[in-house]
């Protein structure tokens, strides 16, 4: 997929000036509300017309004010998943799913109903009306409907914002599963750094109607660490839980981790850990209340706002801790130095429980 955009759009006092080239199979569009993310979706899909400029997808012009080209949205073959599922209330789940497929020319049909229903696990819903589905089910149907229109590009405009946390991660697994299975290039639009990191490794940051950065998600997350009230979120996949002395002990790539006991619903899952919740020691602390003490090697140091990020390697696991620059000087932290990282058992927060048959959202590898 190659999307080129050079457009200008004016809304009263707000102007959106975009000049960007997106290549690859997945890209995130990140920015606060009002930065122009949703307008970008409307411009690319043809629901909104730029004042001037040019948009091409894989070399084919979708809009060109110079030569008066404006391909209508129904001929662009660009699917959209909106924040709200926006299912047709007068059609059944099956009717909704088939709406786009029926209108797709036979030569473009790659994805058929059966395989989609299998991947999104929609079989039990097919004959139901859409008005008595749960929020997560509706969004799954909306994703299926967009995918079945066999688009060249799928635009996901904050598709998880209307869902609660538990459902968000379920839907992320489904989104990733369909896009991988059917190899559909997508743009994922979100204001959530966490969602962005779970969905894509390439990202464009928008601010005030301009492109602020085109970078990797990992780099953007590190840059924002010092600005964000929650710091940098480490994503850890923990497995093989066993109970030991009232606590839960999980296996992690970087060693064993101790979490508060009492969680028996699943033996593993995806957990988050803020960079603010890791305390670094130069030497092994003799007595400490934190249940986790990991011997780590410093990989790199980076600055982010008034903070210093420290990337640590512990076995096969990576963690990012944040400290103030003065602490880095005092502890003489440089790449290669050895440190002890202390983490309280209660600092971990579970993001997703693996469902039978569904893959956990995989954090994109650090760039």
């Amino acid at each position: 997929m190659e999307l080129r955009l050079a457009t200008h759009k004016q809304f009263g006092a707000f102007s959106l000036d975009l000049d960007l080239v997106i290549q690859g199979e997945a890209c995130g569009i990140f920015g606060p509300s009002g930065s122009g993310k949703s307008t970008l979706v409307s411009l690319v899909s043809g629901l909104l017309r730029p004042d001037r400029g040019r948009i091409t997808l894989d070399g084919m012009p979708l809009f060109d004010s110079g030569s008066h080209i404006d391909v209508p949205p129904d001929r662009r073959r660009i699917g959209i998943v909106f924040q709200q599922p926006s299912l047709f209330p007068h059609l059944s789940v099956r009717g909704n799913l088939l709406y786009g497929l029926k209108r797709c020319a036979p030569e473009h049909r790659r994805i058929e109903l059966d395989s989609l229903v299998r991947v999104l696990q929609l079989e039990p819903l097919l004959e139901r009306g859409v008005n008595n589905l749960s929020g997560g089910e509706r969004q799954r149907v909306a994703i299926g409907r967009a995918v079945l229109s066999n688009p060249r590009l799928l635009l996901m405009d904050e598709p998880l914002s209307a869902l609660d946390d538990h459902l968000r991660f379920q839907i992320i697994s489904h989104l990733k599963a369909v896009c991988r299975e059917f190899r559909i290039p997508f743009l994922f639009i979100s204001h959530s750094m966490l969602e962005m990191r779970l969905m894509t490794d390439q990202v464009i940051a928008l601010a005030g109607g301009r492109v602020a950065a085109q970078t990797t998600t990992e780099r953007l997350a590190r840059e924002r660490m010092g600005l964000s009230p929650v710091g940098y979120i480490n994503l850890l996949r923990l497995e093989d839980m066993r109970l030991e002395g009232g606590a839960s002990v999980y296996r992690w790539a970087g060693g064993e981790l101790v979490l508060p006991g009492g969680e028996r619903e699943a033996s593993g899952g995806l957990f988050e850990l803020s960079s603010k919740d890791i305390i670094l020691f130069k030497r092994h602390p003799e007595a400490i209340s934190a249940r986790n003490l990991l011997a780590c090697t410093v990989v790199t140091l980076f600055e982010s706002g008034s903070r210093m990020g420290v990337e640590l390697a512990s076995g096969g696991g990576r963690l990012i801790a944040e400290i103030v620059p003065a602490a880095a000087r005092d502890l003489e932290i440089v790449p290669g130095s050895t440190l002890f990282a202390a983490i309280k058992a209660s600092a971990f927060r579970r993001l997703a429980v693996p469902e039978p048959g569904a893959a956990l959202p995989e954090p994109e590898p650090a760039g």
Binding site: D74, I80, Y99
Partner: protein
């Protein structure tokens, strides 16, 4: 209560027939007008809006008189129809036209209320899924306007039963031919000793109106259940 003669029965039947035909003929035009007024982005939208709504504020007599000129022997429409051998004036067809014109704004308003309540995201979703404007109109906007179409039809039908001013001018007041309930009441009310008959016809009018409103209510409730 006085016994109705065939003339009164035919007035009742004619009222129902004129109103029903006028409503059915107006339905597709009303739907299109509502669509263009709700979603159209074109020059002259305001003019269309004014034109559609004009009969609402114009005295029905004025509408009747303008239609009389338009459909008369020397009017451009009357001439065209005359050359085809069709006479409209002073037949029940003229009553249908008068009723349709007078009731049209009510119908369009009711359809628009329903149409503008459709979530715009549904229309965008349908376009992005490959539906062209006409396809989207037929497969999304039309079915989702059903409630407005029913409300508009009922409103127009009920209004049509009472049409008087425009009808009496273009269709006249010929018993058994163009005399509807309001025209018959007018006749009886202005002739000595006609009061019992006028009141009886008033009662018929009230019964019909209440029946129409009840049917409307019932349909509305059933549609809410279907949602």
């Amino acid at each position: 209560m006085p016994a109705f003669s065939p003339a009164e029965y035919s007035a009742i039947l004619l009222s129902l027939k004129v109103s029903l035909v006028a409503t059915l003929i107006s339905l597709p035009f009303g739907f299109l007008a509502a669509y263009f007024l709700s979603y159209g982005r074109f020059r002259g939208r305001l003019a269309l809006d004014v034109l559609v709504n004009l009969p609402l504020t114009l005295p029905p007599v004025v509408i009747g008189y303008l239609l009389l000129i338009l459909l008369g022997r020397y009017g451009w429409l009357g001439r065209t129809l005359g050359s085809l051998g069709v006479t409209v004036l002073f037949t029940w067809k003229a009553a249908v036209i008068a009723t349709a014109v007078v009731g049209f704004p009510l119908m369009v308003r009711a359809i628009r209320v329903g149409m503008e309540a459709i979530d715009p995201r549904l229309i965008q979703a349908s376009r992005a899924l490959g539906a062209g404007p006409v396809d989207c109109l037929l497969t999304v906007i039309l079915p989702l306007s059903a409630r407005g179409l029913v409300a508009g039809s009922v409103l127009m039908f009920a209004r049509g039963l009472g049409e008087f001013g425009a009808t009496i001018i273009v269709a006249g007041n010929i018993p058994g031919v163009t005399q509807t309930i309001p025209l018959a009441i007018y006749d009886y009310a202005s002739s000595p000793g006609g009061d019992p008959m006028a009141l009886a016809l008033c009662l018929v009018s009230i019964v019909l109106s209440v029946a129409v409103l009840l049917i409307h209510e019932q349909l509305g409730r059933r549609m809410t259940r279907l949602d």
